[in-house]
């Protein structure tokens, strides 16, 4: 079973067009909810029942997040979609926007209805010009068809939706940095609490969900929370889009049930390139601690299984590394990324990511010192949990994962001033 939720229209020609989406029952759920005036609480209950957890990486239960909004509080409320897809290895939301933008729009309208919001923004990363144009076109079509605007289909419910384009900053994927960015500021995360459900965009109650989460809503409501939940496994309801890349034959996005064995996913992705041996897998975007290949081949793709192996499912971005890769070089590149993308607000992250990068980099370039591995453990430990947002942890976790599983490779680099991969 594959492509049942967000990618269910992928087999159609030009699936991003309204008529194509409607040919598969698109916007029927919205019509039903608006005509029957479904009580919003019922919608939230259904989403809770589905077991849907935030698909951006944090895995927070979506229905629970929605229930934090006081729907009857006076004033404006907002639905914000996080399409600032930037966790290295992740490329699924791009496909949802390119190929099924209407399902995302329908999901956002339904989310607005459920929490009492009449305005929404989809924050699309600035580099995603093609997806942005697709989304803009879909918005126009939806507006013309009466799915956006005032008094939708005569229901008395208003909903207006716009896209907001980013301009290159990984940190804006953090939900409060994203809100700051929509407000026209540097994308620096806010202290929490208050959480966005109480003080969000422009100080108004706001829910922020990932693209995949919101695009899943129409199907969850159409077929029922239980249907969705049953696709997956315990604690990991539904199917999930996995972006799989690396040293494999057929990289791409696969929408498959949670709990699918990794070995099956790898097979779908064409297996290892050139028949090489699998060395390691980064299972959930580059901040997820690495898992050795042998161990990964025994795991299933769901929150609990990957957490049980000391890593996280994150955004479902799976990077497969074969045995020609030097793990020091891989970590060097990842540490550079987090250092580059730290917003600079908190000292442990701003300084710590620089330390991590410089120390890993000197090991990679043959300048490593004997005390460096302990130093890396120490610095990583001093960043974790001590920053306003999760970027600090995201920088520390891959370092800790690499040292846990591939310490000998780092030690070899320090001792021999060169790489053990290919050293024979």
């Amino acid at each position: 079973m594959a492509n049942e939720v967000c990618l269910r229209t992928l087999d159609l020609e030009r699936p991003w067009l309204l008529e194509q989406y409607q040919s598969r029952g698109g916007y029927e759920m919205l019509k039903k909810v608006l005509t029957e005036k479904t009580p919003p609480d019922e919608i939230i209950e259904e989403v809770k029942k589905s077991g849907l957890r935030g698909r951006g990486g944090a895995g927070f239960p979506t229905g629970l997040k929605w229930s934090f909004i006081s729907r009857n509080a006076p004033g404006q409320k907002f639905v914000v979609c996080n399409s600032d897809e930037g966790e290295p290895g992740t490329f699924k939301d791009r496909d949802i926007i390119r190929y099924n933008p209407h399902q995302l729009i329908e999901g956002m309208i339904l989310a607005g209805y459920a929490i009492g919001a009449t305005r929404g923004y989809n924050y699309i990363r600035g580099e995603f010009w093609e997806p942005y144009e697709r989304f803009e076109h879909a918005l126009e079509e939806a507006r013309e068809a009466g799915y956006l605007g005032e008094n939708l289909l005569g229901s008395g419910f208003d909903f207006e939706l716009h896209s907001h384009l980013g301009a290159g900053a990984y940190i804006c994927g953090e939900e409060t940095a994203l809100l700051e960015s929509i407000e026209g500021k540097k994308g620096q995360p806010r202290y929490k609490p208050p959480f966005p459900a109480h003080f969000g965009l422009y100080g108004c109650p706001t829910i922020i969900n990932n693209t995949e989460s919101l695009a899943s809503i129409p199907m969850i409501l159409e077929k029922g929370g239980e249907w969705f939940s049953d696709i997956g496994v315990k604690n990991s309801g539904g199917s999930k889009l996995f972006s799989i890349s690396g040293n494999i034959n057929n990289p791409g996005v696969f929408e498959i049930p949670m709990g699918t064995p990794f070995s099956k996913l790898l097979e779908m992705a064409g297996g290892m390139k050139d028949g090489r041996k699998i060395k390691a897998v980064i299972p959930g975007g580059s901040s997820a601690p690495v898992i050795p290949g042998d161990q990964m081949m025994e795991l299933t793709m769901d929150y609990d299984a990957i957490a049980g192996a000391g890593s996280m499912l994150g955004s479902g971005a799976v990077v497969v590394l074969d045995d020609t890769n030097c793990m020091v070089k891989v970590l060097d590149r990842m540490s550079y990324f987090y250092h580059e993308e730290s917003c600079g607000q908190c000292t442990p992250c701003r300084e710590g990511t620089g330390w991590l990068y410089r120390v890993v980099h000197r090991i990679e370039t043959g300048q490593g010192r004997q005390e460096d591995l302990d130093l890396l453990d120490d610095v990583a430990g001093k960043i974790s949990g001590k920053t306003i947002c999760a970027l600090g942890d995201a920088a520390a976790m891959p370092v800790q994962g690499m040292l846990r599983h591939f310490r000998d490779e780092f030690q070899y680099h320090i001792d021999h001033k060169r790489c053990m991969v290919g050293a024979g």
């Binding site: 404006q76 897809e85 930037g86 966790e87 290295p88 290895g89 992740t90 490329f91 939301d93 791009r94 923004y121 990363r125 600035g126 580099e127 995603f128 010009w129 093609e130 716009h162 907001h164 384009l165 980013g166 301009a167 290159g168 900053a169 990984y170 960015s181 929509i182 407000e183 026209g184 500021k185 540097k186 994308g187 422009y202 972006s243 799989i244 890349s245 690396g246 040293n247 990289p251 791409g252 996005v253 980064i282 580059s286 971005a317 990077v319 590394l321 890769n325 070089k329 891989v330 590149r333 990842m334 990324f337 580059e340 993308e341 917003c343």
Partner: protein, 168 residues
Amino acid sequence: MSTSVVKDVIELFNPEVRAEIDRWIAKYPPEWKQSAVMAALRIVQDDNGGWLTTDLMNDVAAYLEMPAIAVYEVATFYSMYELKPVGKHKVCVCTNVSCMINNADTIVEHLEKRLGITFGEVTEDGRFSLKEVECLGACGGAPMMQIGKQYYENLTPEIVDAILEGLE
């Protein structure tokens, strides 16, 4: 006094640029013109051959009724704004993990050799500049690059040559 300010603001940009910025302003609550700053900077940058001058940033500030410093903060925080001239074609190459392990370095070397420049530089004729970028969310097509608004995936040196030759 106020009349002259209004007149000045209207004269800040050409009509097309102004219309495009106004389209973005309309997306946000009336008291939150500032929300359009990211779009406005992109629009004036595109209109200015791909980079922002201090004068342009000041104009955006005046147009959106923001302190100039708040505009500089945004322009320096986000990586897609350029504060010095770039080539007519800004070639952005991803070197993050998925691209790296799919030979992004070969692509970078090839571009450097062909264009005779390295990251952060512009060719003498002003046609190309090279920029190293972080993950662009197209890892399934690694190695990849972006030129202007377009993504180019599954690159080889030969494909890169064909792409560059196809550009004006």
